[in-house]
Symmetry: C2
Subunit: 253 residues, 2 copies
DNA sequence: GCAAAAGTGTTGGCATTACACCCATGG
DNA sequence: CCATGGGTGTAATGCCAACACTTTTGC
């Protein structure tokens, strides 16, 4: 690195062989996905500055000199939702020159997977943070629509060979809830029997004695994600697609 | 974005609501993959500055205020190889605070796929640029080993459902050359009959009349990548894995 | 005539799909 | 007793992996 094409008059205070380089603004934006039991949602806010005041926007923040970009993304999510230790993944860095009209900003986009309910009390006040269904997204500032698009495609792909979907559910969930989640992420209608069959055969779920009696008369058994089994599977080299997803998109859920 | 956790004393010259933010150095590093007909290689250089002078390094450059990061990566590859219009993909952005000891630098990593031979005359002088087999990588400066690792994993995954492998081959290639390429990327020994069968059934290859008489007495027919067919397939929703890759890793090639 | 690479067809097993009916319960 | 969602088994299909022999020709 740092070998070529990099000789401009310096402005910064950097030393050594970086001395002549110009520094730039860096930010992170977070696509916070949530699942409310029915639809896949993203957490959006109202942009607080002119000329885009009031437009929908992802949540973000600038990268400080003594903070890693991962940490900046983590803090962004924590500030907005109150949640720590959230599953996050870096998606892509947007570095076009004019993507933010007023300034050159390089923005790294992350997604986070969280559960919707625990955030609900903490939200709402800050910039009207709102859970919005990914099925009907509003217009957004800057290139945030691109970010969301990339995040969603990444999630859809990732969910097929890693059990990250569990991050969007409470620790205990019914098979129907799990399938409903996958249906809304993949925008497919996965076949009920095959879905549970596959998950159970792989051993990724532990069936509990407890039942959810709320949504049905009969009651539906709760399951837990079996993390030990998952580790075992990937250690053995299986990180297989674990959700059949071949049918063309019917109506989800 | 730009809503929270971002209020530090300003140093930069930015205006508006960014005024108090501090800017950082941004660079790009490129993992340039090449295939010499036998092994998958990366193009590395000798790092030119102390205290790492002479250590192996990826090729990179700083991001200028009026250049996008994609463009910076493109220029880096062009400067080092003389090649334009190269297949490139952004991999990941490395933003840990201490990853470059002397300075805070945020680096976005790309990979590029090119053919080895056309670069050979142009290389060598600049920082001893050298094609090195990915099978036996040397130690590298900073976190470049991590970059290479990520790039390689991305390539291995990508190559299974997008025909990017063709970018590493000349326009005309034999079935054996193609298989040899996939063998070295995936570090597997793909079965000869099944490999050609699958490719041919998918219609992604056009068989030419011409033969390569160099590597065998009998001669091997050349093929071309059928890009139209590829577009047709993805338009129809097939972006399937098109290389069988189940066998555990035997010896490649 | 033989070494060296190219080329090709068939089969068994497994995974995936598709499909329909019974169960348990609260009201 | 019935409406609602929960839960399960089987058969047909297609895809993939495994496998071995023939062809060509330069030397």
């Amino acid at each position: 690195m740092h070998t070529i094409n990099n000789h401009l008059p310096g402005e910064g205070k950097v030393q050594g062989y970086h001395a002549q380089e110009i520094s730039l603004l860096n930010s992170v934006d977070c696509v916070i996905f949530g699942f409310d039991g029915k639809d896949l949602k993203v957490l959006l806010v109202r942009f607080p500055y002119e000329p885009y005041r009031g437009h929908w926007s992802l949540i973000g923040g600038f990268v400080k000199p003594d903070t890693s970009i991962d940490e900046a993304a983590r803090q962004t999510v924590a500030n907005m939702t109150g949640l720590e230790d959230v599953y996050m993944e870096q998606i892509y860095t947007f570095g076009e020159v004019g993507r933010v009209p007023s300034e050159r900003v390089i923005t790294t986009c992350y997604y986070a997977l969280i559960r919707v309910e625990p955030t609900l009390p903490r939200l709402s006040k800050q910039f009207e943070a709102t859970w919005i269904s990914v099925a009907k997204l509003p217009n957004m500032v800057y290139d945030h629509a691109d970010m969301l698009d990339r995040a969603l495609r990444r999630l859809r792909r990732r969910v097929r060979y890693q059990p990250i979907g569990f991050e969007l559910l409470p620790p205990k969930f019914t098979m129907t809830e799990l399938r409903s989640l996958y249906n809304s992420i993949l925008d497919k209608d996965l076949e009920k029997r095959n879905f549970s069959k596959k998950l159970l055969i792989m051993g990724l779920l532990t069936k509990l004695d407890e039942q959810n009696k709320v949504t049905s008369r009969r009651g539906a058994f709760y399951f837990q994600f079996n993390e030990g089994k998952y580790r075992e599977l990937i250690a053995d080299g299986y990180l297989l697609e674990f959700v059949a997803a071949k049918k063309p998109n019917k109506k989800a859920n």
